[in-house]
Amino acid sequence: MGIGVLAITKGTFGATKLLFSPDEAKKLKVDLKRTPTYCEVCFWKCAGWVYKTSEGKIWKIIGNDEDQHSNGRFCPRGTGGVGMYYDEDRLKTPLIRVEERGKQVFREVSWDEALNYVAAKMKDISSKHGAESMALFTHGSGSTYFTNLLKAFGSSNIAEPSYAQCRGPRDEAFLATFGEEVYSPETTDIRDTKCLVLIGSHIGENMHNGQIQEMSDAIDKGVTIITVDPRFSTAAGKSKYWLPIKPSTDIALLLAWIHEIIYNDYYDKNYVEKYCNGFDKLKEHVLDFTPEWAYGITTISPDKIRKTAKEMANASPAVLIHPGRHVTWYGDDTQRVRAIAILNALLGSWGRRGGFYRPASYVVPSAKTPKYPEPKKAWTDAFPGKYPIASSPVSNALIDASIPENKPAYLIKGWIVNATNLISSIPDQANTLKAIQNLDLLVAVDTMPMEITGWADVVLPECTYLERYDMLRISPHRKPAIALRMPAAEPKSNTRSGYNIARGLAVKLGLENYFPFEKQEELLDWQLKQSGSSLEEMQRIGVKTKEREADDLYFAENENVAFSTDSGKIELYSKYIEQAGFDPLPKYTVHEEPSEGYYRLIYGRTPQHTFGRTSNNPNLTDLMHENTAWVNPKVSKAWGLVTGQYIWLKNQDGVISNFKIKVRVTERIRWDSVYMVHGFGHGQKQMKRCFGKGASDTQLITKVLTDPLMGGTGMRSNFVTFVTEKSEKEVAS
């Protein structure tokens, strides 16, 4: 190596000064062409650079140092995002379902034929049943375009499973309490927190990049982490306290903490007095919820409950009881997250350093389009009065409204499903399939032949994020910022970007006025020029960050804050929820327990994969290609199970997993639960690498506890047992 050209200086190694000539740099190929992108492997949307080889082949993806989401460091899924592009099992051309000799098959068609087919069917549904009988299920960046299309078509039935299958209860609970949600990326000020409390949130296994980075910074600064989880998660391994709670009893623990914090005068009196409403009612409500009371429910000792309450109080207001993200567990989830929100309010962490910061957004104008037609019916009209506080359409309600037996006030007859594999993302698969059987049209837009595409009438293959422009990323953060995604390569095969697909459909439907720019880059350039930049500049820098207009990341001392609640204050006691007909203060409710020989099925994330979306990615299957069933040694002994042994799981309704799963015997899980990573056990043969690898938790989630407040599907409500012999499985099925 050329020793003379290198000088290592102190400080961050990456910032070391270079002492070589530009010619040497060229020889070393450091000047490779790079294009900006933001990641689409998960919802964190980290901005980075796609590097290409001298032959112009996509080589690697590296974080953009200016990006607040990634700070220049991508996560394993983002780094492995190249595999999404290279995956040879990708969808390649539009497909239409046809019947040949009594057998249903897909026929490869041109884009023109596919779009004509979809447009004709949509018009047909609209004339027979009304435009609102078309629904959209969507996830990710393409949502903007298909939402625009559906609204222009006359339907507001647009649901993201990320609401009712994931973060919905959290958003509603924080809206009810603080008048504001926690956004994405969450406004959690983890980097400066002194006490981080994780309620089932497994940061480090869920790879929410910015949060992991900040948790790591906080560890360096000596943070106290308290992890509440029936499983010894990675985060539990970094924690001062692990509270191995009995599943489904979190609200009891939270109420006991609230009790401790109020009755020991640990709460932030000035903050509560100035900003909060309903303290006295809360105090009265939690009077009997002592640590001793909670002990009998949660199995967490009173001593530990007291100690951890004191830890939180000591750190206040730099304490963060994390709101979580996937919180649809037991059907009383809004109430559980309400208890979390209340705890944060009592400790004065909302709007304070080390608690929750105030986000700032970059303002970019939208294209001028005609007014949308007023939909004749909204999703709420299908089942009037159901899920009264849901602020977004509920995916499972739209599915239920597609089934005539449910007697909805009107029937949904057509679905566009964009970038979400409903078979894997929505629990109770039988219900979803029943709804599909009643549809006149199912269009699936995806990059991969996911299970949902197998049920579609029309499959529209989208190119990956590495081959397309998309809308600017304008997520709120500490500083206002935008990020650009541009293609690093031409779309592979006969695939198209989501924008082109949605616009193509709009043209066929006579709705092109709603997509005034033929090419997305024209729209981007227009938007950017309106807001002090340009496409050319963004192509060069990828991310543009502005300073905040005011120094208001946190509340100023004694600031008069107007909260967007009915009372203008933080609502400890929620009149809003009371008016909707539910408990204004969270209560603990008893949940069903597993019968003998059954164990509660708990699922979670792994840092190498995003849901079931990445299961076939060659780079990521290389890191993890199947999930395992975590079983406590006490349980494995009783069943004679050993690590590495393949078994099947059977749930309380007799459903046996289609595929076998490896046992992992570990002390890291309670004896009353079995844990598995979500997103495996794919049954679509076209995805060759992941077909039949591991088991699908979704398949085993047949019992759903729906949150009556907002429609969230509680999914930790199922119990499994072990099937060890294949013959036993065959007999049962």
């Binding site: 991508f74 492995g80 790879m207 992991i212 790591s216 309670r670």
Partner: protein, 177 residues
């Protein structure tokens, strides 16, 4: 100059980002890796401890792989980095057998491959790909002879250990505990 790496086991979450970043950076074929993640657990429920380590070649001062290489393909580069010269390597596998850390793999193209500390990157002042990508910033890299380098500073400040020190290889991959 003496290059070394320290991995903070208190921060590492075992996400394998280092593994995949190394694979893409160095065009490691699917099915192989130059680095890997190890998780060890001690205790019984509920008194548990886990240690997570991002592991790779230890770039030993007394490297058995260099000693046993019949062709001289395995050698020390500047800063003590243990490298394999692909052209000289006959793929005999003696080095693979001699390595107590199992840090080498037979590349399908017929030579033995391993971690290079991303020498091509450090030559131009960049951190190795694993250290540059790690979301937890748990990988510290630098020159032990420079007392102000990241790795020197963190090793001075924190307790650390090496793996299989009894093998006498003087490994230069440290784990902060």
């Amino acid at each position: 100059m003496r290059y070394a790496m320290a991995v903070d086991t208190r921060k590492c979450v075992g996400c394998s980002d280092c593994v995949v970043a190394c694979q893409t950076e160095n065009n490691v074929p699917h099915g192989f890796c130059r680095e890997w993640v190890v998780e060890t657990m001690n205790g019984t429920y509920p008194q548990l401890e886990i240690e997570i380590r991002s592991e790779r070649c230890n770039h030993c001062i007394n490297a058995p792989c260099v000693r046993c290489c019949p062709t001289g393909a395995s050698h020390f580069a500047d800063g003590g980095i243990v490298l394999v010269e692909h052209n000289k390597c006959i793929g005999c596998g003696a080095c693979i057998a001699s390595c107590p850390y199992d840090a080498r793999y037979p590349h399908p193209e017929g030579y033995v491959d391993k971690c290079t500390f991303c020498i091509h990157r450090i030559k131009i002042g960049l951190a190795p790909a694993c250290a540059a990508v790690c979301p937890t910033k748990c990988i510290y890299f630098g020159d032990l002879d420079d007392l102000n380098s990241d790795v020197s500073v963190v090793l001075k400040k924190r307790k650390s250990k090496t793996l299989i020190p009894e093998a006498g290889t003087k490994p230069q991959l440290y784990f902060l505990i």
